[in-house]
Amino acid sequence: MNTSSPSGKAPSERSIEMAALMSRVALGDRQAFEALYRGSCAQLFGIVLRINGERAQAEEVLQEVFVTVWRAAATFDQRQGQVMTWLTSIARNRAIDSLRRRASEPATVSRYGTLGGTEDDDDDLLEQQASEDPGPLDLLDRASSRHALERCMDALTGEQRSSLALAYYQGFSHAEVALHLSQPLGTVKSWVRRGLQGLRACLDRAAGLVGNSDVGRAA
């Protein structure tokens, strides 16, 4: 079931709220922990589900994410970054790790094609294949059009953009991106590397211009 973010608040208000919750979680406040879960689980689950499309596995990943969050809460340094950035990083790491665990299974180009098994998964498969389900490049477009990232993404070549989007949104490895784009591995590795370099140079320039490292969050 797809739902939009539970709170329709502006990001800044939301991140302040999350920061306040996080400091309470760091002190072992279970109610704050639940509030943090409620406020972020759908967004994080969406991210995990894109990388590992099997719902049961994705739910296990989400579970591990919040176990990690509770245990590592005291080590989270508010000055180092935003709560949602931290949570997203943990979620993406865990999701990528869950793919590693199934490495013995045949590599698949399309996650959507590998769904299935239980009845629930069949339902998800239908949902995922609905025409409005955005692909990685659609998501990139949406991310780009809303953020300072736009000009920086535009500055990349199409191949670099596609490679970054497949890696970020689908959790593809170099080899999977290469397979998906029918290109040699070495070529794809260099697209990814140059794409990242270009992105950094451009984003850091933009950050310098606005004097704020948090460029991504347009008000």
Partner: protein, 225 residues
């Protein structure tokens, strides 16, 4: 290999944050992080840069079992019956809190002497999956009238109804009748609404209400008195 070298740290951090650093290299990077501040700084920067990419991903509500499993693993608590868990569901809901505050202010104005008791009923995990709204119940100070107001529009599947319950500290919940879905509020007039009541809850029932006199469907919303 010298991981404090800036360009090398930078490249590894970028590929790690993007997710393309895999297998043994990924594990090694994670082991090196705590001891190499340059690596950690580079990674923080990359995670921040890439965070902008995460925002357009469609949010998907996970199943209620995820939260239950997290609690089980961290706190080892055996799942309690739903009315013992009401306290946990009081988790933060800004919208509900704001609505409650607004109502408390509105209602308190005409009768400043005895303001009604306002109870915010938050969605339970199952509730979030089914009707996606909490309720605010306000009970008159004399405990004889209750007005229930959903925080958002309620849409129910054909053949289903919502039933309101008064939950005592001990014993079975008492039915307070069905929740009106065609109008904005439900009014319950009954003596001693608050006597022995520790919480109010809304359950999903077949049309016409619970056939057994006790909640048969999932509790979708609940709030402590």
């Amino acid at each position: 290999m010298d991981y404090s070298r800036r360009d090398r740290a930078e490249r590894l951090a970028a590929e790690y944050a993007l997710g393309t650093l895999r297998g043994a290299a990924r594990r090694r990077f994670e082991r090196l992080l705590p001891a190499h501040p340059a690596l950690q700084d580079a990674l923080n920067d990359w995670q921040l840069r890439l965070q902008a990419l995460a925002s357009p991903v469609q949010a998907v509500e996970p199943g209620a079992r995820v939260w239950a499993a997290v609690q089980q693993r961290l706190f080892g608590a055996a799942p309690a019956s739903w009315w013992q868990r009401l306290g946990l569901w009081q988790g933060f809901s800004a919208m509900a809190a704001v609505a409650a505050l607004a109502m408390a202010v509105l209602i308190a104005q005409p009768t400043p002497v005895q303001p009604p008791l306002v109870i915010v009923m938050n969605s339970t995990p199952q509730g979030l999956e089914m009707i996606k709204t909490g309720f605010v119940a306000s009970v008159s100070a004399d405990g004889r009238a209750l007005v229930l107001r959903p925080l958002d529009r309620v849409t129910l599947a054909e053949g289903r109804a919502l039933e309101l319950w008064a939950v005592p500290k001990a014993g079975a919940p008492r039915s307070l009748g069905l929740v009106a879905t065609h109008s904005a509020t439900t009014t319950v007039l009954r003596a001693r609404l608050l006597q022995d009541t520790s919480a109010f809850a809304v359950s999903l029932e077949p049309a016409g209400g619970s056939p057994t006199g006790k909640p048969t469907g999932p509790i979708v919303s609940a709030g402590e008195v």
